[in-house]
């Protein structure tokens, strides 16, 4: 490996990977294949195991069970410096005692690559920071440091580039800019990117494939549009954007749609968009797919109608207005209405109906829980896990 670059990105394959820490399991039997050259995002809340997954791939942690393969070669037992993998750390971890240039050259020199200096300058030009090559990292802004960290990793042309929430410390505007830059750099250098983030918008804008992780498992994986339009579980429906979820009994299971009894109304969901076709099911629809009516709309084929309800809150958010509608017997419904005309379409307290096209609904796979929206998190085990996660986060920061 020494002295040469990999030709292109490589596949990453995790086979039955489990990681247990004393007292809790971070990752449970994870199977994952990331094809070469793709931009893959692992999305999840803090403590879901996504950073642990990244550290396992980098070799900074050893799995309790399972195998890790990069480009078809097993690397499970190898040390970090033996893996064709580079990481952009959340904290950047730029060496404070070296210049920016020496930081970027570091990996090349360790591998004995001949024209390290020229390559390092080239990588710095790629992130438009060649003019600060002789400075120390502490003399750069957060965004610049982030780009140096990126250059330091990319310059090695790793088969796999790992990004550990590298944009977390940047402000919103800079983050947007860096997202676009990262995406274009990935296109330019053609590496496989594995990006870990808790920011769903970041994951969706940047990645070809997003895997939503929860409690050490991948809940759902797919293209961003696919995940958003057809979430399969309550967790995905709520973590990736917002959802209106209703639970009811299936009353009719037709050949192209299932009808669910929601507060006495028959709500239809396309059969191929519903995970379960019998018994108690949870169905949902995205807030922006809903239309608000001030008069009861006419019943039509292919349209679901709920109401009447009362607007309990209307908040103007610029592009759209968010309405909260209370329909008796149902959880509060969120509606995003585009601001096509001036002023709110309906006032707070007004009587309204909401409707949506049947093809926009989706049916979830989970067993409905008594409280559909939030899982209980007050058992001792969950508290222990959360406490551990907090401590780890503190340690990470320290």
């Amino acid at each position: 490996m020494a002295g040469s670059f990999d030709e292109s990105g490589a596949d990453l394959e995790l086979v039955g990977v489990t990681k247990r820490f004393p007292g809790f399991t971070a990752i449970e039997n994870l199977n994952l294949t990331i094809p070469a050259g793709s931009f893959f995002a692992l999305l999840g809340p803090s403590g879901c195991g996504k950073t642990t997954t990244l550290r396992l791939v980098a070799g900074l942690e050893a799995p309790t069970a399972g195998r890790i393969l990069i480009g078809g070669k097993e690397v499970t037992a190898t040390k970090p410096h033996q893996r064709p993998v580079n990481t952009v750390f959340q904290s950047y971890a730029l060496f404070p005692h070296m210049t920016v240039l020496a930081n970027v050259e570091f990996g090349l020199k360790r591998r004995g690559i001949a024209n390290a200096l020229a390559l390092a300058h080239e990588a710095l030009r790629l992130v438009e920071l060649d003019h600060v090559a002789s400075r120390r990292p502490s003399q750069l802004s957060g965004g610049q440091q982030q780009r140096v960290a990126l250059a330091r990793a990319v310059v090695n042309r790793p088969a796999l580039l790992l990004l550990d929430e590298p944009l977390g410390a940047l402000d919103l505007k800079l983050r947007r800019q860096m997202q676009l830059e990262l995406k274009s750099i990935q296109g330019e250098v053609g590496l496989t990117f594995l990006h870990v983030t808790h920011d769903q918008e970041e994951a969706m804008t940047m990645a070809d494939t997003v895997a939503v992780m929860n409690k050490g498992r991948i809940e759902q994986m797919g293209a961003p549009e696919e995940l958003y339009e057809l979430p399969r579980t309550t967790f995905v429906a709520n973590f990736l954007g917002q959802s209106n979820l209703f639970t009811g009994e299936v009353v009719e299971s037709g050949s192209d749609a299932v009808t669910v009894d929601i507060a006495g109304l028959g709500i239809k969901v396309p059969r191929e968009r519903a995970q379960r076709h019998a018994g108690e099911v949870t169905i949902g629809v995205r807030p922006e797919k809903l239309t608000l009516h001030t008069r009861k709309p006419d019943t039509a084929a292919g349209v679901n109608i709920l109401g009447p309800g009362v607007i309990i809150d209307a908040s103007f958010t610029g592009v759209s207005t968010q309405y909260l509608v209370q329909v008796p017997g149902l959880p509060v419904i969120t509606v995003f209405a585009q601001n096509m005309a001036f002023g709110p379409v309906a006032e707070q307290g007004a009587e309204v109906w909401v409707s949506w096209r049947v093809e926009h609904g989706f049916g979830l796979a989970d067993e409905p829980e008594p409280e559909a929206r939030f899982a209980a998190d007050d058992d001792t085990r969950t508290i222990a896990v959360q406490r551990r996660q907090r401590l780890e986060d503190e340690l990470d920061e320290a």
């Binding site: 900074l60 040390k79 990481t87 404070p96 005692h97 360790r110």
Partner: protein, 304 residues
């Protein structure tokens, strides 16, 4: 921790200090400045003046008058030049040995034991514990250990390392051993203070960037702990160069192991004050030159 004082990381407040209030700062500084003048500057001036004195008119022992007798220095160099060389040889060797022993120890306490704070405190106390017993007693204890009929010599004779007529006390070995032993805590604590704050994420990043264990040490861990290493070597080398206990014939040394400190001591108690003062000044200058060169080379404004 108090040891942090060796490694200076405090925020630089000087830029933020309001200029108008500088007289307050002067008043607050006054006790320290006065103390320094009374206990350092005045004795130093007196020492320099003494070093140029010449014997008084009636040639009584210990009678000297102010003069400019630079021959005192010539005499000091001529008579004790070899001892100066020995002093620096011993101190340098003791410093290197102390560094080689202390660095792994400090790394173990500051990094390996980081996840076990109780063990960390306990081992740190063990490093400091010898200070609770008098320095002289501890050195005398080593003299007993290395005694001609003692266990170490008997053992080394039995395995043939030492001949039947050989001994240890009074040799360069015991003096350097004593110096190393006595200054290890001064080496360990500043290095510990540096390593204790070492951010292991840099080490992880080094591993991620293809650096093996050796490269990670030489290129990341050692440079990041360099302030502690510099403080520790200075805190060891400077007092070791002036040490007159370990090399004294009453302790671990003999007439063959005399160091500059012993010469100053002997000359002083034999009432050769100017010569004693001249040796002191020479020793001070001789220490300052390499120390300044060392600090300048090991880099950087951050250390001073």
């Amino acid at each position: 921790m108090a040891f942090g004082a060796f490694a200076n990381t405090g925020p630089d407040l000087s830029a933020a200090a309001p200029r108008r209030r500088s007289y307050v700062a002067l008043i607050l500084l006054a006790p320290g400045v006065l103390y320094l003048v009374a206990t350092f500057v005045a004795p130093l001036v007196s020492l320099v003046l003494t070093s140029f004195k010449e014997p008084g008119g009636d040639f009584e022992v210990g009678e000297y008058v102010y003069a400019f007798r630079w021959e005192n220095y010539a005499e000091a160099i001529e008579r004790f030049g070899e001892i100066f060389l020995r002093t620096f040889g011993y101190s340098l060797l003791a410093t290197v040995l102390a560094l080689v022993i202390s660095y792994p120890l400090a790394y173990f306490i500051g990094v390996t034991l980081r996840r076990f704070p109780l063990w960390q405190s306990l081992t740190l106390i063990l490093v400091i514990a010898p200070f609770f017993i008098s320095f002289l007693l501890r050195t005398l204890a080593w003299k007993a250990v290395f005694a001609d009929e003692g266990p170490v010599v008997s053992f080394l004779q039995s395995i043939g390392v030492l001949g039947p007529e050989d001994y240890l006390n009074g040799t360069a070995f015991t003096v350097i051993f004593g110096l190393t032993y006595n200054y290890i805590p001064f080496m360990t604590l500043p290095i510990y203070a540096s390593l204790e704050r070492l951010d292991l994420r840099y080490v992880e990043a080094g591993g991620d960037l293809y650096a093996g264990a050796g490269q990670r040490f030489w290129r990341i861990i050692l440079p990041l702990s360099l302030p502690g290493v510099v403080s520790g070597t200075l805190l060891t080398f400077i007092p070791a160069s002036g040490d007159y206990v370990n090399a004294s014939k009453d302790f671990l040394g003999s007439t063959n192991t005399v160091m500059a400190g012993n010469v100053i001591n002997d000359m002083f108690f034999q009432s050769f004050y100017p010569l004693s003062a001249a040796v002191s000044i020479l020793l001070m200058v001789a220490i300052l030159i390499p120390v300044i060169a060392y600090v300048a080379k090991s880099g950087s404004e951050e250390l001073l």
